[in-house]
Amino acid sequence: MKISVQREDFDSGLEQRNLYRHPGVGAVASFVGIVRDVGMTLEHYPGMTDSALRKIVDEAKGRWKVMDCTVIHRYGELAPHDQIVLVAVASAHRGDAFAACEFIMDYLKTQAPFWKKEHRPDGAAWVEARASDDDAAGRWEPPARKAS
């Protein structure tokens, strides 16, 4: 399992291929989040981010047959078309890989301590959390154990 919170860009192809080597892997599902139209500054909570991501991945591992997993999330200054986040999940079959990948992204959106400040033409503004993100995370069954 690889979890990285970093300023630098990453090679999504390489990160994905690194998961192929795991014995028994038959499927790798991955998601890459990209900066849309407006540059941004991404802030995070350094002491907490890594453990929050780890917990989300552990939760996914408890629900699906996940053989290996890579999560990379960037912070700092990002320009349009830059990569923000990578979630790649290796499993024996596609069902587990797809589901775990989507679950990790949905939980990351509502549980991992990152905040985006967009540099819009009319000034910088913090991005507001969207109810649809809570809905997306909420459609998964609640965790077996209490998150807190």
């Binding site: 909570y45 959106k109 905040w115 959390a129």
Partner: protein, 85 residues
Amino acid sequence: MKVKVLFFASLREQLGTASEEIELPAGVGTVAALRGHLARRGGAWEGALAEKKNVRAALNQDMVKPAAAIRAGDEIAFFPPVTGG
């Protein structure tokens, strides 16, 4: 008791501070009570931490509910709903 309080993103900007060590009066024993205690400073504090504001909290780097109990030496963070990914 003494605790460390952190603020992130828009909250950090509104309050003009990222962190502080604070000595809590007796009776401030939960995350919600700490938030109320800070809001009573008035001004920007009241504006940013008022009950109607959507503020999340973490206790020792773990997301918690307002009722979570705090102890001496704890690190409590307040921040707006997260927007990563």
